[in-house]
């Protein structure tokens, strides 16, 4: 070694000692270094083995145009991309929709994708297909738990699998496991639904996005006392036990371009000569191959999935057919679907005076265009009141105001006061719907000579629907509940079920232009006597009719009955009262036309009956579940107890490759105000610990406390100077080596000289 040579050449004793000491330190240093290197290797090993995963991290600058990036792990990962195609065929009274979701994985990872999406409330989902390359895998209906297990097994085994689960009658989740890097997987579901009719207008509604729901927090246990006043009750815990499952991430439209492009085509075979066909919220092209058929497609190709698609059509004739009868033979049974529109009674007598309680939702989710529509609707309603009527107005968000202590006469002074009150409303806060419904249903006047009506204006963006239903059944008394669904993506399930339990009707208002027309329709229902006391009787066939208790039918609405028959013979007689006059109609069954998928509609309707019976406490939850499960398995439809699962038997993900979970984000429904739902946009995005989820509510938006520094947890310093020291040390060693080499050369040069 160089150093030894140097020592030999030197004669200075003092320097010799110094060098010896230096050498001692050097040897010790080398020993420490050896130990250190071993330690370094051991502690670094896991880090090295997994570096390949870093490859998927992108920075915004790297993205190709039009790529959606989601922040994750501090860097950006390219998200799974989703395209949706909706293909609807309307055949007379029913429609069949095929929804194809295209999951494309542009990343370098194996991904599991989940997508939360809405479907029509009355839709019976019966088919799931997964298309991988040129293979089509058809899904089976299984009990929910069992389907989950099958899916999880396939997921772990690296097989491609798709699972369709119901979260609410109108919210479903599709999960797709093991989508490989660069791969595309198609998931196709199909459902059957009855066409809606109101007066001479027929309609279909395709919900395309789940509006962020307000999920009340389980702060305190609420207590439900039995209505019999015995003093016994039960405590309920979380009002929304599945809040995570209905709260997909929502993109802020100010920061992200819209996602989930959707194409829609509708093949409309009405079965009668068509008049006006109209799409209410989308630009469409309408082709008419013949007088009874229309083909409707989107004019712009694709649209972002951010609002409901609504199509209405009218017959060319002045009056729509008032009776429709359709049959289907499945297995050893016949299924029948009957539409009967009762005659409209000309108002000969003055309508009964009414007590109307208006309830308006001014929560944050109503921000933007919804609150404008709601206020316009309510102001229209106030102007329609008669002096003999009484009324009250309730507004609610996560707080509540009742305008008058009790309902007041609808005179000019009171109407003026109410108009001012409504005009001043602003949308903000959470959505505590139950207390407002309770207040509206509290019958303070007890005036039995008046008809009591509750008109409820909301987008229904809550996750605790069941609590609301229970409130209505427990407190409805003689009140009738009319629901008005407001906005671009209202919760139709909540509207229909609440109106059914409240023995009222419902309507949708999706834009400012619809306010007057729809409100006029609703007022026709409010002001005219309903068809009551309806019964249905089959002369020969043994029939299982649904709905089990036939609801009252309001003006312009058809009575819709589904029945399972042992034989198609004899006739169906429907009786009821229009106002105070008896009315009846007899339909011979052999005149029924062939229909499609009626058995599924019957089963779906029977399931809704079972759920209603449970809400009314007429059946125990266990009985309800048993009924639903039997129906669902027999008719192969998705319910809250059954799911569709498809598994590709060929494993595709190599063993050991990790699988990433990607919850697909959804758009904010059109016209909604992001800040009103989720509070202020954070100035510093990273301070938000979790991604914003569609759980709009646990923190009422405007009241959310700012993250307070004092009581927040301070995170300790977690970096050592080890690396810095080691790097500095290495640099110094290198430097000294260079100097050594330089010094060794220097004496030689001087000697030569």
């Amino acid at each position: 070694m160089d150093t030894y040579d140097a020592v030999d050449n030197d004669e200075h004793p003092m320097l010799g000692r110094l060098i010896k000491f230096g050498l001692f330190l050097l040897v010790q240093g080398v020993a420490v270094m050896l130990v250190a290197f071993v330690a370094l290797l051991v502690s670094f090993e896991p880090g090295w083995s997994a570096t390949t995963e870093q490859a998927s991290l992108l920075q915004p600058g790297d993205a190709r145009s039009g790529t959606l990036l989601l922040k994750e792990d501090g860097a950006y990962t390219e998200a799974i991309r989703l395209g949706i195609d909706v293909d609807v065929t309307v055949s007379g009274p029913t429609l069949r929709a095929r929804i194809t979701q295209v999951f494309r994985n542009p990343s370098n990872d194996w991904v599991e994708a989940t997508y939360v999406y809405p479907l029509a409330t009355d839709g019976a989902v019966d088919t799931l297909k997964m298309v991988v390359g040129d293979r089509v895998i058809v899904g089976d209906i299984k009990e929910r738990q069992q389907a989950r297990v099958i899916y999880e097994q396939a997921r772990r085994a690296g097989q491609k699998a798709a699972l369709t689960e119901q979260e609410r009658p109108n919210i479903f989740t599709n999960s797709v496991a093991n989508i490989g890097p660069g791969e595309t997987v198609l998931v196709q579901i199909e459902y059957q639904e009855p066409v809606h009719q109101s007066g001479s207008e027929y309609s279909l509604r395709l919900p395309l996005v789940v509006g962020p729901r307000y999920n009340p927090a389980p702060i305190a246990q609420s207590v439900d006392f039995r209505p019999d006043g015995s003093g016994w009750g039960t405590t309920t815990t979380d009002p929304v036990p599945d809040r995570d499952r209905i709260s997909p991430p929502v993109l802020d439209p100010a920061k992200n371009p819209p996602v989930n492009p959707t194409s829609i085509s509708v093949r409309l075979k009405a079965g009668f000569a068509l008049g006006e066909v109209k799409s209410h919220h989308h630009n469409v092209k309408i082709a008419s191959p013949d007088s009874t058929t229309r083909v409707v497609t989107l004019a712009d190709g694709t649209v972002p999935a951010d609002r409901d698609f609504e199509l209405t059509w009218k017959p060319a004739a002045e009056k729509a057919p008032s009776v429709g009868l359709f049959r289907e033979h499945v297995g050893d049974a016949d299924y029948l679907l009957a539409f009967v529109t009762p005659p409209t009674e000309q108002a000969t007598q003055k309508p009964l005076p009414r007590e109307v309680v208006f309830v308006i939702d001014n929560s944050g989710s109503m921000g933007g265009t919804s609150i404008v529509q709601a206020k316009a609707s309510l102001l229209y309603a106030l102007s329609r009141l008669q002096p003999a009527d009484r009324f009250n107005v309730i507004r609610f968000d996560d707080t509540m105001d009742v305008l008058f202590p009790a309902s007041v006469p609808a005179d000019a002074a009171h109407i003026g006061e109410a108009t001012a009150f409504v005009s001043a409303l602003q949308a903000r806060g959470g959505t505590e719907m139950v207390p407002a419904m309770r207040a509206a249903l509290t019958d303070k006047l007890g005036e039995t000579s008046m008809v009591r009506q509750v008109v409820f204006l909301t987008d229904g963006a809550i996750g605790n629907e069941q609590q609301l239903f229970e409130t209505i059944t427990a407190m409805r008394g003689r009140s009738r509940v009319f629901m008005i669904g407001i906005g671009s993506a209202p919760n139709t399930y909540l509207m229909t079920r609440a109106a059914e339990l409240g023995r009222g009707a419902f309507t949708h208002i999706g834009s400012a232009e619809q306010v007057e027309e729809r409100m006029r329709g609703l007022f026709a229902k409010l002001e005219n006597p309903a068809v009551t006391g309806l019964t249905a009787k089959f002369s020969e066939a043994k029939a299982d009719v649904t709905p089990a208790i036939i609801p009252d039918v309001y003006r312009d609405e058809p009575l819709v009955l589904a029945a399972k028959l042992d034989k198609l013979a004899g006739s169906l007689e429907i009786k009821g009262r229009v106002g105070d006059r008896p009315w009846s109609v007899t339909l011979p069954l052999q005149n029924a036309a062939e229909g499609k998928g009626l058995s599924k509609l019957w089963a779906k309707r029977k399931i809704a009956d079972a759920e209603v019976a449970r809400s009314m406490r007429e059946a125990t939850p266990e009985e309800t579940d048993k009924t639903i499960l039997a129906l669902a398995l027999e008719h192969q439809i998705v319910t809250r107890l059954t799911s569709l699962v498809a598994v590709d038997k060929t494993p595709s993900r190599p063993e050991g490759k990790p699988l990433k979970l990607s919850e697909l984000p959804i758009n904010l429904p059109a016209g909604w105000d992001f800040e009103k739902v989720f509070g202020e946009r954070p100035q510093q995005a990273p301070t938000q610990l979790r991604e914003r989820r569609a759980d709009a509510g646990s923190q009422p938006a405007t009241r959310r406390p700012m993250p307070a520094a004092p009581d927040a947890i301070r995170l300790p310093k977690t970096a050592t100077s080890a690396e810095l020291k080691m790097i500095a040390g290495l640099i110094l060693i290198m430097l000294s080596l260079v100097l050594f080499a330089f010094n060794r050369r220097q004496p030689l040069l001087t000697d030569a000289a």
Binding site: L40, S43, G74, A709, R714, L715, T718, G729, M734
Partner: protein, 189 residues
């Protein structure tokens, strides 16, 4: 030869610096070996066991991420001393498996170096010193300032937050922290 003195001093300082840095890693690694034993002992005896007689902290949990084969023994408290030997459990936060957020912090260049490889969806196993197992699933991550962690100690769910310094590859320490958030999916209670 006086010319040799300056390089010699340089090499000495260099070696000492390097050794010092490496010593931190060596200590972190050796301490975990000792802690592993102490932890097994405390699980067996159900008594807090000190890893060495003069230690001012004791192991409270073992944290494992099986997918990437990472594991570490967590110590009580987050003093500089404790963090040199292993991840620390921040005192005012909940215990693992209890309602609230349990926060574990560790150095980004030693015990929590593996945090960069933990993906959303990974399963994180925590064994408490009383032998109880809890299984968490990583569900989100964030980069925050040390004094604005956004962690709510009064959270309703059973949650876990693993934190370390950010960015992972930096040489000097800064105010940013990386938080990996996980929620309980399974417990053996």
């Amino acid at each position: 030869m006086p010319r040799l003195i300056s390089p010699l001093v340089l090499v000495l300082v260099g070696v000492i610096l390097f050794g010092d840095g490496a010593y931190i890693h060596a200590k972190a690694w050796l301490a975990q070996v000792l802690l592993e034993r102490a932890f097994d002992r405390s699980v067996a005896t159900a008594q807090p066991a000190k890893p060495w007689s003069w230690a001012d902290t004791w192991p409270v949990a073992r944290i494992e991420v099986k997918r990437i084969g990472a594991s570490a023994i967590v110590l009580a408290g987050t003093s500089g001393q404790a963090l040199a030997f292993g991840p620390g459990h921040i005192h005012q936060t909940a215990d693992a498996g209890e309602r609230g957020v349990a926060v574990y912090a560790a150095h980004r260049d030693t015990h929590f170096r593996f945090l960069r490889d933990v993906a959303i969806g990974d399963v994180i196993d925590v064994t408490r010193s009383d032998g109880k197992h809890f299984r968490y699933r990583a569900d989100s991550s964030a980069v925050v300032r040390f004094d604005a962690s956004g962690i709510d100690p009064a959270a309703q769910d059973v949650e876990l937050a693993l934190t370390t310094c950010w960015p992972f590859d930096a040489v000097t320490s800064g105010p940013e922290r990386y938080i990996l958030h996980a929620t309980l999916i399974e417990s053996d209670r």
